[in-house]
């Protein structure tokens, strides 16, 4: 049980300087009332003009090659930028998925036309993506997807439904996992392919689904015999499973798995510093130890990605621990209301807290459930 290591990676001075630069930029935006920091901002808070701004600062598509408008910087640099954006609750939802996973997926598997037409726009903060994995009948059991792509004379015909796609209503594209040939008896993972689907095509219908907070961020997307051009196939026909597994490593290992509600924690500590000194040092210490450990692990995964490894299992570790931490954090704050009753908290903090309490069940569902993470780990331990 020593095969899953998270080697320590030091934050260099260059990285710290970048961190400072990003922080100053975001703080200025906040001071100029360009946005109000919000929790879970990478899911809920979309602001295309802010995304564009980040693009012009060179903070999107950071690790993408220069020939596609990228900046050829490291995954560690990207990590630092995303941490700063998350910790300050910046409105990053519009570009988040494109920058985190779709762009890399296209660079890795896409053809020249896909790369040159899309990557520069992602980098500029002008092209947004949604995830096309889950379906009404396929949640955790991703290999059971029924969306079907059939070869036609000029390309493909796409038929099916995708669901829970965050930001699909704002996105330009969706990477859709579809069946291109029936699953073999032995291996359900065969016969799947990924498609790069332009969401403005005819017969694509996107319907919003309000979540339990009443907000709309996720959607159901109907593909009613959508005609796709030949070069909509992303990567290799039939290799969709392997491709999607790699995409999930990008999706699961980042700091959004434990910094989604950092703005709440930060305001909480600023507000109650004096009471905490008397009766909350232990809880603050516990929270610090968890966050720092998670940051080290996630940063370590970024360095694995940088060196071309596929840390799918390590990503599952980060996600599982991160989800647990966030739930624990909110419980810890709730228990503190024994010391200062909730109704005496400033309104803004009360709202943040209640908002987080409402949203928190989703953290261990999105990007793969706790049960799926544990299953991945169990498989790697040789139990399956």
């Amino acid at each position: 049980m020593s095969k899953f290591n998270f080697p320590f990676i030091k934050e260099t001075n260059e990285l710290s300087n970048l961190r400072k630069e990003v922080r100053e930029f975001i703080t200025t935006c906040i001071n100029n009332n360009e946005f109000t920091p919000s929790p879970d901002a990478w899911v809920f808070s979309a602001d295309p003009s802010f995304s564009k701004k980040l693009g012009s600062k060179g903070w999107l598509g950071m690790s993408f090659p220069k020939e596609y408008g990228g900046h050829q910087r490291t995954a560690l640099e990207r990590y630092v930028v995303t941490e700063e954006l998350l910790s300050l609750g910046a409105p990053v939802a519009a570009h988040w998925i494109a920058d985190r996973q779709s762009g890399s997926q296209i660079l890795r598997y896409g053809n020249e036309k896909q790369k040159s037409s899309i990557i520069p726009r992602i980098t500029a903060g002008e092209c947004f993506f949604a995830i096309g994995m889950s379906e009404p009948d396929s949640g955790s059991d991703l290999a059971s997807v029924k969306t079907k792509a059939t070869k036609t004379k000029n390309g493909w015909k796409l038929e099916g439904r995708k669901i829970w796609s965050t930001g699909a209503h704002l996105a330009h594209y969706m990477i859709v996992l579809a069946r291109t040939s029936p699953a073999s008896e032995k291996n359900r993972h065969e016969g799947l392919s990924q498609f790069l689907v332009d969401l403005s095509l005819p017969n694509v219908k996107i319907t919003g689904i309000p979540d339990m907070t009443g907000q709309r961020h996720f959607n159901e997307t109907l593909f009613d015999n959508v005609e796709l051009s030949d070069d909509s196939l992303l990567g290799e026909e039939g290799k969709g499973w392997k491709q999607v597994v790699g995409e999930l490593a990008l999706e699961r290992s980042g700091p959004e798995r434990f910094l989604s509600h950092f703005t709440l924690l930060d305001s909480f500590i600023n507000e109650f510093r004096n009471s905490l000194i008397h009766s909350g040092t232990k809880i603050v210490g516990k929270l610090i130890s968890e966050i720092q450990t998670l940051r080290r692990m996630s940063f370590s995964v970024a360095s694995m990605l940088q060196s071309g490894e596929s840390p799918e299992t390590q990503a599952a570790f980060v996600k599982e621990l991160g989800n647990k931490f966030e739930k624990m954090m909110i419980e810890t704050l709730r228990e503190f209301s024994n010391i200062v009753p909730l109704h005496e908290w400033p309104n803004q903090l009360q709202n943040l807290f209640e908002d987080a309490t409402l949203r928190i069940p989703s953290n261990s569902l999105r990007g793969g459930t706790t049960e799926i993470m544990k299953g991945i780990i169990a498989r790697q331990l040789g139990l399956r």
């Binding site: 290591n5 320590f8 934050e11 930060d266 000194i277 040092t281 603050v284 210490g285 610090i288 299953g375």
Partner: protein
């Protein structure tokens, strides 16, 4: 040096593999020739003085770099205080005291210590393996200076002997005991920090073993017509252990790389909190998935879980270090949390 360490790790594994079986752990007395043979083999390979300066006959590999060795020693469930000896000798050497040959243990804690005329009196608490050695390190602070005190002829009144633990532990009251050497510790290093790091590395080695034992047992044991490991409920429990361990290992790799300084003393706290918390979870889950067999003396699981229980309480438990971390941030800092963390 990395290559040198790799070789040492490999050799150590082989030695421990060859000498240790579970029955050896049930008879940790100085009359047991198997115990003596194992120690001799360990000493022959220079392990006790691995972090001791060359001028005192050591390898002079920094203590923080050899934490992987501490992990291996405790992964094998070595029923000897090699980890304690390595740390004691390192502290002695850093204090410019030539470490003695043989086993050196330490007082985990002390009470009412008094030093007069090069003699020491008071209570030395929770001393591991006192039955195997006469050499003992005490770290004691005098006028804000931390001093390393070497005793080479320990004797006194045993006031408490903890037999139920995996490793023997003693509380001993000493009166006018001769001090062999006493010197200030270089850089005023805090023993509590070093101890916390040592115990965390030991815990991580032991936790790896406990998880391996659980995987092995659950893969072999059949109930309801299939191996326990094929039940999802069991798989998820074992995964949970792996998750806890991975967080502790990440915290350890920070210390292995950065060592210990004023600047990163939070990392020690984080490590001890993380490892102690993980140990609690892993003790509970490993016993749960093992069923009754894990609760027997004959099966080796309990040797490791008992040690985990002792180590998580030594040198400050989770609460102690959580208070330390929280206080440090809240009292000595006006920064907001994110600035502080980064």
């Amino acid at each position: 040096m990395i290559e040198e360490l790799e070789i040492i790790l490999e050799t150590t594994s082989k030695i421990l593999q060859k000498h240790i079986n579970h029955s050896l752990r049930q008879n940790i007395v100085s009359e047991n020739t198997d115990i003596l043979n194992l120690w001799n083999e360990i000493e022959k390979n220079g392990l006790p003085k691995i972090s001791v300066k060359e001028k005192f006959g050591g390898y002079e590999i920094p203590f923080f770099s050899i934490l992987p060795l501490i992990k291996i020693v405790n992964n094998h469930g070595t029923p000897l205080p090699l980890s304690e000896t390595i740390l004691s000798n390192y502290i002695l050497s850093e204090s410019d005291i030539n470490p003695p040959n043989g086993i050196v243990t330490f007082a985990t804690d002390t009470k009412n210590l008094q030093i007069k005329n090069n003699m020491i009196s008071g209570e030395l608490l929770s001393v591991p393996y006192l039955n195997l050695t006469k050499n003992l390190l005490i770290v004691h602070e005098l006028n804000n200076v931390k001093k390393a005190i070497l005793i080479d002829e320990i004797n006194g009144e045993i006031i408490n002997k903890k037999n139920f633990l995996a490793e023997p532990r003693y509380d001993i009251k000493v009166k006018n005991l001769n001090i062999a050497e006493i010197r200030p510790i270089k850089n005023n290093i805090d023993f509590n920090f070093l101890g916390a790091i040592l115990r965390s590395a030991q815990m991580i080695g032991a936790m790896e073993k406990v998880i391996d034992l659980s995987i092995k047992y659950c893969s072999e044991r059949k109930q309801f017509g299939r191996a326990l490991s094929k039940f999802q409920a069991i798989q998820h429990q074992i995964s949970e252990m792996a998750v806890e361990l991975s967080a502790s290992s990440a915290a350890l790799s920070t210390i292995t790389k950065l060592g210990l300084s004023e600047k990163n003393s939070n990392d020690t706290a984080i490590l001890k909190i993380r490892a102690g918390f993980a140990a609690g979870k892993i003790i509970a889950i490993s016993h749960q998935v093992h069923g009754a067999i894990g609760f027997t003396k004959e099966y080796e699981l309990s040797y490791f879980t008992k040690n985990l229980n002792s180590w998580r309480n030594d040198f400050g438990n989770e609460s102690f270090w959580e208070e330390f971390l929280g206080k440090r941030f809240l009292e000595k800092n006006n920064k907001n949390l994110w600035e502080y963390l980064t």
